[in-house]
């Protein structure tokens, strides 16, 4: 099986080579179709491995770094994320077949880099795949490089990717060995372990978009073409979380103290709240979706932190519950966010814009896309019986069990995290309503949007796959968690049992359970009965007439789409939350300039916000860079004698260091 997976990776590399050859109009279908097939193969192999049995041992490749060959392995954790990669990769590739052919070289390299990072069984291979993924996705972000905003996003993205690399390389270096089995046998201790925690959290957090390292994410994810955005939001952020879980929960092992979970819990809660709030304020559909990714990454990080806390307190079943929530939510979010980004791509393709203020009423022009969007929206808003509710139910149950930690500080932290998680979930629901309501309901807001057509068949197929999977995971979370069981064991110990009761999920022995199938059956039954009863009493079809709208008068005939002022705008929908929460968290502002009576100038409303948390680190960092650059500039002014003595002093210093290292 490992050989087959390695072969798949090699074939992806080959596809990138094919894209380089000027093969005319066949390059696109070959590369994207091949990527879709290989990704589907990955998904099948991963599901087979999880259901039947994981491959034993490690495949050592005959090439690699100077000291050893690269090694590949597949365990429960990597197989679970490989499944996500396969599912998302194939649907995004199919979707890309229906759009313009761009970034054909980077696409298979991006998929292959992620696959390599997942399969790597030593630090070198993992980091190699991780950096390949970063570079390939950078190329996809920079694809539209004629746009200044796109160039800016790509540059910022590269800086943060470099930061992630600069932290993760020393984090893996501090582990004492490269081979994962050797690290697990002798996990780091003392200050080295704490340094691994700090570097790992910063490195993986910068790649996953955790607050306060999230500045790049709402800029870079929307700048890429929609299928690439789907892959970046759906899988790449999950890969960063995979590295975080691999590094902190698996490699550093159960010897680490429970308080390791606290920084994860705090960063996760901050990300969940801020991301969800920003998703409510952004006026570009893809930017709002990217902000919602920050929220969901935060929720998964919270669950991982809780797993660490519970594991440190020897609460095995609760740790398994939290780890199950993390893995299920990573999968659920990966799929529904892919679906939503693909929907945004289809809307952009059909209606010519992704600005919410230029969309509207698409439900009439794109009924199928609307149905698929509704599934994604429901899952993202955590509505039963869809996948988002199942995973967030598990997370909330794990948080509700936080009082079992015993120590009062941790209990209060868990209670505060519960409040923030609940708030983030409700904020996500508000954001999804705003997104869907503005884009698909109401009246068109632009002529281009009024002329929209249904998405083409490749796009529909690419969206249908994650939609069906979202439904399936929502209805059978127990089966999904049973597949994730090997991954849960990697995270919290070999004795862990997944939080499953038959087809449903449960919060442990004698506790509450959630059976989505029962909920769906009840809902369906009640719906049918209601329909029959009501329609029996009132069988007539609905009449049509102009909207009542509180008695608002009809618009003049030259307003083809009705009076634009009588329909809510993106900024208007955001107003309550901007005033209620945005003022303190996002420096939201609102100012009305009212001209004096008799003046004919119009009154103006200025509203906006600024994410100060996003600028908290980069702005001082840029200042520090300038200060250092100023200092270094002075070297150029040195005299010849000064330069020579500086060179000599450096040489002597390095020799002394070498001598000291030799002597140890």
């Amino acid at each position: 099986m490992l050989t087959a997976l390695a072969l798949g990776l090699a074939l992806l590399g080959l596809l990138a080579g094919v894209a380089l050859v000027p093969a005319g109009r066949w390059a696109g279908p070959v590369v994207l179709g091949g990527s879709a097939l290989l990704s589907a193969g990955f998904a099948l192999l991963a599901i087979g491995a999880l259901a039947i049995g994981l491959p034993e041992g490690v495949l050592v490749l005959p090439f690699g770094p100077a000291w050893a060959g690269m090694s590949l392995a597949l365990d429960g954790l990597s197989a679970w994320f490989l499944l996500l990669l396969g599912l998302v990769g194939s649907s995004a590739s199919v979707f890309a077949l229906g759009g313009p052919r761009q970034g054909l070289v980077a696409w298979p390299l991006f998929l292959g880099g992620m696959g390599l990072a997942l399969l790597g069984a030593d630090g070198f291979t993992l980091l190699l795949g991780f950096e390949l993924m970063s570079l390939a996705s950078w190329a996809l972000v920079a694809l539209d490089h004629r746009e200044a905003a796109s160039r800016e996003a790509a540059r910022l993205y590269l800086v943060f990717a470099a930061l992630a690399g600069a932290c993760l390389v020393p984090a893996f270096g501090l582990l004492g060995a490269l081979d994962f089995a050797a690290i697990r046998a002798a996990p780091p201790e003392g200050w080295r372990a704490v340094a691994v925690l700090a570097l790992g959290l910063i490195g993986a957090g910068a790649k996953a978009g955790l607050v306060p390292l999230h500045l790049w994410l709402p800029l870079a994810h929307p700048a890429a073409p929609s299928p690439a955005s789907a892959l970046m939001s759906g899988v790449m952020t999950k890969l960063a979380l995979y590295v975080l879980a691999r590094l902190l929960l698996d490699l550093c092992g159960p010897v680490q103290p429970g308080w390791w979970g606290v920084p994860l819990l705090a960063a996760g809660a901050a990300s969940a709240l801020l991301g969800a709030l920003r998703a409510n304020l952004e006026e570009d559909a893809k930017v709002a979706l990217a902000c919602s990714t920050i929220e969901n990454v935060g929720l998964v990080t919270m669950a991982l932190g809780l797993a660490l806390l519970f594991r440190g307190a020897d609460l095995g079943p609760m740790a398994a519950l939290a780890a199950g929530a993390a893995l299920l939510h990573a999968m659920a979010h990966g799929l529904f966010k892919t679906l939503l980004f693909l929907v945004a791509g289809a809307v952009q393709h059909a209606a010519g814009s992704r600005r919410l203020d230029r969309l509207g009423g698409l439900i009439h022009a794109m009924p199928r896309t609307t149905l698929l969007a509704l599934i994604g929206l429901g899952a993202a808003a955590a509505l039963p019986p869809l996948s988002g509710f199942a995973s967030e139910w598990l997370l909330l149950q794990a948080l509700l069990g936080g009082w079992r930690l015993g120590e009062i500080g941790l209990q209060v932290a868990a209670a505060a995290a519960l409040a923030l998680a609940a708030m983030a979930v409700a904020l996500a629901a508000a954001a999804m309503l705003r997104l869907f309501g503005l884009a698909f309901l109401g009246r068109p807001r632009s002529p281009r949007g009024a002329g929209a057509r249904e998405a083409n068949r490749f796009e529909l197929a690419g969206m249908a796959v994650p939609a069906v999977l979202t439904l399936l995971i929502g209805l059978f979370p127990g089966l999904a968690l049973a597949l994730a069981a090997p991954g849960i064991r990697v995270l919290v110990g070999p004795a862990a049992m997944p939080p499953v009761v038959g087809l449903a999920v449960g919060a442990g022995e004698g506790h509450s359970a959630y059976a989505p199938l029962v909920v769906l059956l009840l809902l369906g039954l009640v719906l049918v009965l209601l329909w029959l009863v009501v329609r029996r009493r009132s069988p007539a079809l609905a009449e049509r007439g102009p909207a009542w709208n509180g008695g608002f008068i009809d618009p003049p005939p030259e307003f083809v789409f009705g009076d634009p002022l009588s329909q809510p705008s993106a900024a208007g929908m955001a107003q309550p939350l901007r005033r209620m929460l945005g003022g303190s968290l996002l420096a939201g502002r609102e100012a009305v300039t009212m001209p004096p009576p008799g003046d004919t100038r119009p009154a103006r409303l200025e509203a906006g916000f600024e994410d100060r948390a996003a600028l908290a680190l980069p702005v001082p960092a840029a200042r520090l860079r300038d200060a250092i650059a100023d200092q270094v500039e002075r070297l150029r002014g040195l005299t010849l004698r000064g330069s020579l003595s500086l060179g000599f002093a450096t040489l002597v210093g390095l020799l002394a260091l070498l001598a000291w290292l030799e002597a140890r």
Binding site: I363, W403, Q411, V425, V526
Partner: protein, 319 residues
């Protein structure tokens, strides 16, 4: 026998909730009218209104989509499923094992989403404003509800409403300050969720101040009947939820016979009537607050719920 009893009580409970929904609305209106010195319509008036509306065909806006036609059914179905999960006059009903508080919150969120989508469907200003405000209130109500649930989870070890009621009914817990704080928090959430004074005014005719009704401006005929019924059922659900958790006395225990059911029915009727009276008195005595004061109101509820949980941390730490 046990299964039969569970199924019978479940069916009876659903029938009671369905019947109580318009009655509770009518009763509260009548009580408020009496307290304000008016004669008031009969408590049975909502039944007549619903029967009249239900027979009428709806008038949809020109650009309304299938959402307007499906949303009322979905919202009422979700609310009814949630109402069937909340314990009523008896414990151990057929759906008792599924009666999870987080699931009830999720089903109510589903109904809320259907309502908000309905508000946005016609593309009118009031509908969008109401939808945005409704979802914003939920942002503050949801954490208060879940942190209150944390207190129950600590005391009862679960979020299953049936088991919470059973544990609290045994009385081994006694009167606790933390439960009192949680009760105040739940009450505030219930007021916000049901669009009652001081968060929203169910009897308002001034469009600029309304939230719930703003989303229903375009609904008419049988759709309006479904929405009105859904609002009444949601109110009944919240009253039953508060009664089940904080006033668990008198409910028939699981597996009991018809005599215990009768006692339970009487106790449930008395509790629901008492809660309706309390709501009417509260609404009659207080004025509606500005929309942007609502976060402070619900934020206070969240703080009370957190305080309740913190008190429990301290007290269980010493125990």
């Amino acid at each position: 026998m046990l299964v039969l009893g569970a199924v019978l009580t479940q069916i009876l409970h659903i029938a009671l909730m369905l019947g109580a929904a318009p009655l509770a609305v009518g009763l509260i209106r009548w009580l408020k009218a009496r307290m304000m010195g008016r004669r008031g319509a009969s408590p049975l008036q909502p039944f007549r209104d619903l029967a009249k509306l239900c027979a009428k065909r709806p008038l949809l806006a020109d650009n309304a989509s299938v959402v307007s036609e499906a949303a009322p059914y979905l919202a009422l179905a979700a609310t009814l499923v949630a109402a069937s999960l909340v314990p009523g006059f008896a414990r151990g009903m057929a759906f008792a094992s599924a009666a999870d508080l987080v699931l009830v919150a999720g089903l109510l969120a589903l109904a809320r989403m259907a309502l908000a989508l309905n508000g946005m469907d016609a593309g009118t200003a009031f509908g969008g404003m109401g939808a945005a405000r409704e979802m914003s209130f939920a942002v503050f109500a949801e954490p208060a509800l879940l942190v209150s649930a944390l207190s129950f989870a600590i005391l009862a070890g679960t979020t299953n409403l049936d088991q919470i009621g059973a544990v609290f009914r045994d009385g081994a817990l006694g009167l606790r300050i933390s439960l009192g704080l949680a009760a105040v928090a739940m009450g505030a959430v219930a007021l916000a969720e049901n669009a009652r004074v001081p968060v929203d005014n169910p009897a308002t005719h001034l469009e600029l101040t309304m939230v719930h009704e703003a989303m229903l401006l375009e609904a008419s005929g049988r759709h309006l009947a479904l929405w009105e019924y859904q609002a009444g059922l949601k109110l009944t659900l919240w009253l039953a939820l508060i009664a089940a958790v904080f006033l668990p006395f008198g409910a028939a225990p699981a597996g009991s016979g018809p005599l215990a059911w009768l006692v339970g029915l009487l106790a449930w009727g008395a509790k629901m009537g008492g809660l309706c009276l309390a709501l009417a008195v509260f609404e009659g005595a207080i004025a509606k607050m500005r929309v942007f004061r609502v976060p402070e109101f619900l934020g206070a509820a969240l703080l009370l719920a957190l305080l309740a949980a913190a008190l429990l941390f301290v007290s269980t730490g010493f125990a």
